[in-house]
Symmetry: C2
Amino acid sequence: MKQVTIKDIAELAGVAKSTVSRYLNGGSVGKATREKLDRVIRDTNYEPNQFAQSLKSKQTKMIGVIVPRLDSYAASRTMMGIDEQLTERGYQMLVVNTAQQTEREIEQLYNLAKQKVAGIIWLGTTVTERHLEAIEAIQIPVLLIGQQHDNVHSLVYPDHEAANALGSEFMRWGHRNVVYVGVSETDIAVGQERRDGFLKSFQESGANVRVIQTTFKIEDAIPIGEQLADEVGTVSLIVCATDNIALGVLKGLANQGIEVPNDISVSGFGGYDFTEVLHPSITTVHLPYRRTGSKAADMMLQLLHGEHVPMKTFTIFELKVRESVDKLK
Amino acid sequence: MKQVTIKDIAELAGVAKSTVSRYLNGGSVGKATREKLDRVIRDTNYEPNQFAQSLKSKQTKMIGVIVPRLDSYAASRTMMGIDEQLTERGYQMLVVNTAQQTEREIEQLYNLAKQKVAGIIWLGTTVTERHLEAIEAIQIPVLLIGQQHDNVHSLVYPDHEAANALGSEFMRWGHRNVVYVGVSETDIAVGQERRDGFLKSFQESGANVRVIQTTFKIEDAIPIGEQLADEVGTVSLIVCATDNIALGVLKGLANQGIEVPNDISVSGFGGYDFTEVLHPSITTVHLPYRRTGSKAADMMLQLLHGEHVPMKTFTIFELKVRESVDKLK
DNA sequence: TTGTGTTGCGGAACCGGTTCCGCAACATTT
DNA sequence: AAATGTTGCGGAACCGGTTCCGCAACACAA
């Protein structure tokens, strides 16, 4: 089961190594030689040694993907999309997990560079100076998903716009006393854009809003739901920054015997699969994670081929009006 | 930003390449030389070129992980566990997705071998002759998670035992008319072991069982739930082979206005996070996916170090008695 | 026929490490 | 003091590819 090398092929075909290499890489090779090599290579089912290739070329067919966590719906779906597209185009995905530590993102940028990945797709949470510095230093195309920065190619969800659209819809339905449950501002896209999109719609309608901050964890949202149970009657709608938060809030409300949407309405954001299948199904915004992954892979390959790619690209979004938010009028 | 090579180091320190290499790999080096090299290497922050190393050694510090899908709860959690452990021990995880195509599993076994991964962790669904053949051929340690076979090191969930334990519990609660919603037998662990574990407990109590087959997809379970709504009153319990199936069934029942657990009980299997946070929370069996991942990584490293590892290892399980199953007595 | 251009191919160097071998310097034993 | 053993180090080959350069063979125009 020993490796067949280019040297073996050369000997079997009675030519020089260099000729075999040229044959493989589409250089000029005579007809007779080509046919001989065709045969020999097929017979031996030769496969080039990737290390030798990479050693020389300082390149691989790998795209590094930096994800904040492996067990998030958004990340999983995005990875699927990336993987599909890359596999199809002859590249491989190399996933690295940062376990939500910003420091490790930077570390991994350098690390992936060391491994000579052809490009890096980064599912970002925050963009700091040190990130930019790393990106600058490694001299490898980087594509940012989910966050944006002028200096980095980015593929971003229309958080502001989508939040605003969903919020406006709620206003049209007559909600005037709402609580917004969001996350930290360090996450620009979710913590700021998304929130501001909602707030804008609420303000324009002169609604009453209170903002509460929590984390991305379901558990942390449960007590919030429990507390908000006391405000049933005055507050008519709880808007959550993510579907997971909505899930926690719903649980907290249920723990207090509150019924959704009869007693109070709750909305999510993200469009995770389970939102549809829950009872009540959750009104939310669907973001195309998987297709965004494919798109990202596609853009990355364009970058690698030197084609022009806009610095900032927005994805689409889709309102999912379902059961968890009541129309008051 | 050019690579610093071992040659550069050698020149700066005034020694031969071979001496530097020996220094790096713990060979015999004199005190004076060692100190000089200490300094030079620190100053240049030299990093060895992995391709050159792998080219020579025909080895990498990568462990390939073959997963059937990227967006499954079980797979994600397992990957997390694997990744944590590997990272800590200086290895890297290389995930490859087979998109549930058996054919691609085999392909990837060979492919990972070509990439000279040190070992392969395989989250299996079915084990065929061709798989075994591939494993035999590639001469790389393979560790199977979630399924078992005598010829392959495997780390498996106690499906039969856990199912039996949960089923027995239900019997104790007085359920005598149950429907089991399972999956295809091609998946030995889930399709057979799990089912048989349940059936055994039901039979021992002389309960009435009907078995229905579906897929792993949530959507496919919804119509089943809807149909079973007609049997409320006669059937008292629906046992589902996975939490996702339970989710679908619950949705189907809810669509028909059936209340769980008042009208009928439903149980899951797997212990996905969301089962706890749903309303009603789902009675299920918790399987330690993440810890199993860590354990798998650990075992793999043992295998690589030539230590003895038992051919078959079972994980623990834990019954999660919650709201979705009623105690009839 | 000579000159010019094109094409096909071999040889050698190179990518950046590791490892084998042999030699010199020094320490130890008798 | 000679014989033997140990240690530190350099040189060269090797891993398996790619690429540059130059030469030979052939085709074609002059």
